[in-house]
Structure formats: structure tokens, C-alpha cells
């Protein structure tokens, strides 16, 4: 058998496969393909695979082998397609796996302690005028303090509803963005920790400053922040914790190679970030609509207590009994 003859015999199949690849690449044409055509595509692909496998024993010229590599590669990408999101699987992951992971994860625990430690310490320094007199001014900055006081000088009685929507959108954009940056930065550890600690110190200082007895705007401030606080602060802790877990897996590889360790951890940490995003979203809705409204403080406090309870239930009750070993 001459190679030239063999190529002639195969060429028709190959060019047909190539034509079908083009059709498969466009969504519209792909839908129009019949079942028989799809089966034929698979058969042609297998035949091209066989030709490539036998290229050596046929001693095909180099050019043809290259062509076959590209052709098989192209058809392979059309046959094996990316998987979409599976809603049912994701609900299960968010309600079962994430709480268990968070409950047991040392990184999330460490970030939890760090965040709240720094937050409380910063709040104490900022509220006391004797402990560290210039702390609040240095941490928050004069301009921001003035702006804060200006924002909360009037009692909260509700605002224009169109502004509510606008602000809810802004919070989703801004806060979730900070969370995602915190998570991504955790991969190289220091940026993630920096964003998290800076937020802890800054927020703590704002809370502490507003808690000073001689700051009249304090009451309005707490009236505003109570309701959405639990979700938002927990979400920051979760994103930083999941990010830190990624960063730690560079170092503590559990006997895997570093890329393998990272890959394993990514599958483990990404759902945690997903649940943090849900929390940011809920916090943004509360912050946009309930927090600025004129509802009595009791109602806002109830929402805060309820959301804390919900989070407790999520992490402790759903997370407690069955242990899942973390990757490191």
C-alpha cells in the first residue's frame, strides 16, 4: 500500500471531520445536527484517532502527522465539552460540605480569631482617649472621621427608595469585590492577610470612635450598622480564611506536589468563597433596604440576632457532627 493511496483513501473522512468540527463550533449549527450526524462525528473522530495511532507504522510523512494531531485535538475539544453548573450539586455543597469544612478548618478559625482580635483591640484603642490618644485619628484619618460624623448627624428615618436600590447595588459591587480580592490575595498570603487586617483595624476603629460617649453621632451609627453587621463581617472572615487556606497549601503540601496540593485545596476552598458571596449578597440587601430605613432599633436588633442565629445554625449545627478531614 502506498502512502499516497492511503492518504487519498482517508482524505475524504478527514475533511468531513474537519467540516463537522466547524459546524460543532457554532452553537446555532450544533443544535441543528441530527443524532445520526453526531454519531457519525464520533465515528469519524475515532477513525482519525486510529489513523493517528497507526501513523507511525504507516510511516506517514511528518506534515500529515502534524495535520492529524491538530485535527484530532480540534475534534477532541468538540466531543468532550465543558460541564455547566449543576444547581442540585451546588445546593448540596453549600448546605452540607461548606459548614463542615468551615467548622473544622484551622485557617478559617485562625482568621476568625485574628479578625475579631484586631477588631476588638482597635475598637478599644479608638474608644479610649487615654490608652492611645491619637489612635483613632491616625487609623481612620481626619477626613474620614468628618465624613462619618457628617453621614450620621441626622437620626435615621429612611431615605428615598430609589437610593436604596442604588446603594444595595453599590454594596454588592464594592463589598463582594473586597471579599474576592481578599480571597485571591490569600493565595500569596500577605496581600490577603493585609486586606483582612486592614479592614478589621479600620472597622474596629470606626466602631470604637463612634462608641465614645462624647460623639453624638454614635447612636445613629449603631442604628445603621447593627442589622447587616453579622453577615458582612462573617463573610469577610470566610473569604480571608478560604484565601489563607489556599496560601497555606503552598507550604503544607501533605506529601503532594505543590501544584497538586494547590489543586486539591482549590476545590475545597472555592465553595467556602461561594458561601461568603451569598452572605455578602444578603448583607448588601439588608444594608441597602433595612439599615437606612426608619424601622425601630428593636427590629434591626432582632434581624441581627436572627442572622447571627442563622449563621450559628449553619456553621455549628450543620457543620458539627460529621467530620471531614481538611486537606492539610
Amino acid at each position: 500500500m502506498k502512502v499516497a493511496e492511503l492518504l487519498d483513501a482517508r482524505r475524504r473522512n478527514w475533511s468531513e471531520l474537519e467540516r463537522m468540527c466547524v459546524e460543532m463550533e457554532s452553537r446555532k449549527q450544533r443544535r441543528k445536527l441530527s443524532a445520526a450526524a453526531l454519531a457519525r462525528f464520533a465515528a469519524l473522530y475515532r477513525a482519525a484517532c486510529a489513523d493517528l495511532a497507526l501513523a507511525d507504522s504507516y510511516q506517514l510523512p511528518e506534515n500529515t502527522v502534524q495535520y492529524l494531531h491538530r485535527l484530532v485535538g480540534r475534534a477532541h475539544n468538540q466531543l468532550y465539552r465543558s460541564q455547566r453548573f449543576n444547581v442540585q450539586k451546588w445546593t448540596q455543597v453549600l448546605l452540607e460540605d461548606v459548614p463542615r469544612r468551615v467548622f473544622n478548618d484551622r485557617c478559617v478559625q485562625a482568621v476568625f480569631v485574628l479578625f475579631w482580635g484586631v477588631f476588638i483591640l482597635s475598637a478599644v484603642f479608638a474608644s479610649s482617649k487615654t490608652l492611645w490618644p491619637y489612635y483613632a485619628d491616625a487609623m481612620i484619618g481626619d477626613a474620614t472621621i468628618e465624613q462619618l460624623e457628617d453621614n450620621f448627624k441626622d437620626p435615621i428615618t429612611g431615605r428615598d427608595p430609589r437610593q436604596n436600590f442604588q446603594m444595595a447595588g453599590f454594596y454588592i459591587w464594592n463589598n463582594t469585590g473586597i471579599g474576592l480580592k481578599c480571597f485571591a490575595g490569600g493565595l500569596v498570603v500577605i496581600p490577603g492577610l493585609f486586606i483582612m487586617l486592614f479592614n478589621a483595624a479600620h472597622l474596629g476603629a470606626c466602631f470604637g470612635y463612634m462608641a465614645r460617649p462624647d460623639v453624638p453621632e454614635g447612636a445613629n451609627f449603631f442604628h445603621f450598622v447593627t442589622a447587616h453587621g453579622p453577615f458582612e463581617l462573617t463573610a469577610i472572615v470566610l473569604s480571608a480564611g478560604a484565601g489563607l487556606r489556599l496560601g497555606v497549601s503552598w507550604v503544607a503540601t501533605q506529601g503532594f506536589t505543590r501544584p497538586d496540593s494547590l489543586r486539591r485545596t482549590a476545590e475545597y476552598a472555592m465553595p467556602i468563597m461561594g458561601s461568603a458571596m451569598v452572605m455578602f449578597f444578603l448583607a448588601a440587601l439588608i444594608e441597602g433596604f433595612l439599615s437606612p430605613s426608619g424601622a425601630p432599633y428593636a427590629l434591626k436588633a432582632t434581624v441581627a440576632v436572627l442572622s447571627s442565629g442563622l449563621l450559628m445554625f449553619y456553621f455549628v449545627v450543620l457543620g458539627f457532627p460529621r467530620r471531614e478531614t481538611p486537606p492539610s
Binding site: 500500500m1 502506498k2 502512502v3 499516497a4 492518504l7 487519498d8 483513501a9 473522512n13 478527514w14 474537519e18 445520526a36 454519531a39 457519525r40 465515528a43 469519524l44 475515532r46 477513525a47 484517532c49 486510529a50 493517528l52 495511532a53 507504522s57 510511516q59 510523512p61 511528518e62 506534515n63 500529515t64 502534524q66 495535520y67 492529524l68 494531531h69 491538530r70 485535527l71 484530532v72 485535538g73 480540534r74 477532541h76 475539544n77 468532550y80 465539552r81 465543558s82 455547566r84 453548573f85 430609589r162 436604596n164 436600590f165 442604588q166 447595588g169 454588592i172 459591587w173 469585590g177 474576592l180 485571591a184 493565595l187 496581600p191 501544584p259 489543586r263 482549590a266 472555592m270 468563597m273
Partner: protein, 296 residues
Amino acid sequence: MKRMTAEQAPLDSTIAIVTPENIAFTYRVAGPFRRLPAFLTDMAICFLLYMGLIFLVSFLSFLLAGLAEAVLLIAFFLIYWFYGGLFETFMNGQTPGKRLMGIRVLTIDGQPINGLQAVMRNILRAVDMMPPLSVQAIGIDAPMYIIPTFTLGLVVMMATQRFQRLGDIVCGTMVVIEERHWLSGVAQLEDERAAQLAMYIPPDFRASRTLAQAVSTYVERRRFFSVPRRREIARHLAEPLLEKFGMRADTSHDLLLCAVYYRTFIADRVNEEERSASPFAVTPGMPLAASPMAPR
């Protein structure tokens, strides 16, 4: 002369994939300079989307007041963080920019990526962009524009075998070039003497696999070379062959390689006559042909 060992990987940016059909084929991995235009194209599309949304919202804001602005901000958020992730999930590993540049994201095993990998590798681009540079840093009094430098991503890409940036390493993905390669078939030998010379090659001579590869690479490309260049390249292979075949030393080297090519790929090879190729071909009447069997 240095001998090339089998372990020596070719100095090339190709990566071998073994498919479920147990076939190994190669891809070329896309480097930073093919991925940058794709990224810039995507940025331009994002920018146009932003502009379009702003235009649309400013138009609709008479009707929908605050809601329109909320939609705008949420859309900004989604486009900024999830543009790449969603496109790569629903367009089989490609964004519009990647499609334009003919590149595609695959897992390092050559499998298609799933939604999680697509979203995550795009979120982690925030790390690859580091360190950010601000115009203020060089003492210019400008607004706080932060310019991503992509230095970290570039350094990591240079250091990995598959040109992976950090996001790719974490998700176990790589970007490959998906290009067309034209089937040229067997090279046409315009010189009649090649076939004549082939008859003088000893009948028991059979080109080894590497020799066949080298000869076919040469003959398929020789029309791009000038005559002195052909002579220069062909000499290395042809001199030992001339000696082996016992031919006259003044035989044209180029012609000899053409003759070997003719003999290997075009002329009849008696001992392979029975190895017919036709059973493996898919005929129109056989849509569900089973996987072809290996030759005896």
C-alpha cells in the same frame, strides 16, 4: 557526535495528551504573547459592555429610577469578576477574545474545564495582576488610578512548563493553541530523476522511523529553500546514505533524499501490500462504526 536520548524532551512548547480512546496527540501551549491580545480583546469587549450599559441605564433612568442604577452596579460587578468564568463555562473553554486568537482553556489532562475551574481561574487573575502600580507612586499628583502590571503572572508563567499563571496552577488548567493545519498530502516531486534514482536503492532497504521523519520533513519543506541551502542541509543525511548504498559520491544529495522519500512514501512497498487500510475507514453506510481494530 552527541546522541539524543529518548528522555530528552523536544525543545518546543508542545504538550502530549492521552485521550479516553488511548490516543496520544500533541497540543501547542499558548504563551503570554498569544494570550495578551486575547485578554486585551476581552477587556475591550468589557469596556464596550460597560459603555453600552451606562448608555442604556441613563436612557431608562426616567422610568426605573434607582433600580436601573442598582442593575448597573451589579452588572459592573458581574462583568468584572465573572466575564471570563461564565464565557469559559458556556463557550467550552473560550472567551470571545480567546476564540479570536484561536486559543482554548483545558485542564492539564486535556479534558474540558468545569464551571468551578473557569470561575476560579478568572477570580484569581486578581493575584496575577499584582503588584499594582499607581501613578502617584512616581510623584505625579493624579487621581488614584491603579494600573495592574501582571508581573507576578508573567514571572510564574515563565517558570512553569505549560505557561500557567497562578490561577491556572491552582485550577489545574492550561491554555492551548487550537489551530488548523492544512493537509498537504504527499509532496509532489517535480524531478523525474528521483523515481529513477529510487530504483538504484537496494531493495531490502527500509527507512527507519526517524529517517523517514527526517526525510519527509526535508522534502516537504525543500521548495522554500534555495539550491545552495538544500545542498547544505541534505549533505548531513545523504553522505552516509550514499556510502551505504554504494552509489557514486557525486550523486546530488538533494536528489538522493527525494529518491528515499519516493521510495518510502510513494512507490509500492511490496511487504505492506496486504496491510490494507480500507477496513478502518468510515464509509457513509456505517455511521456507528466501532473503534477500528489495530492491524495484525
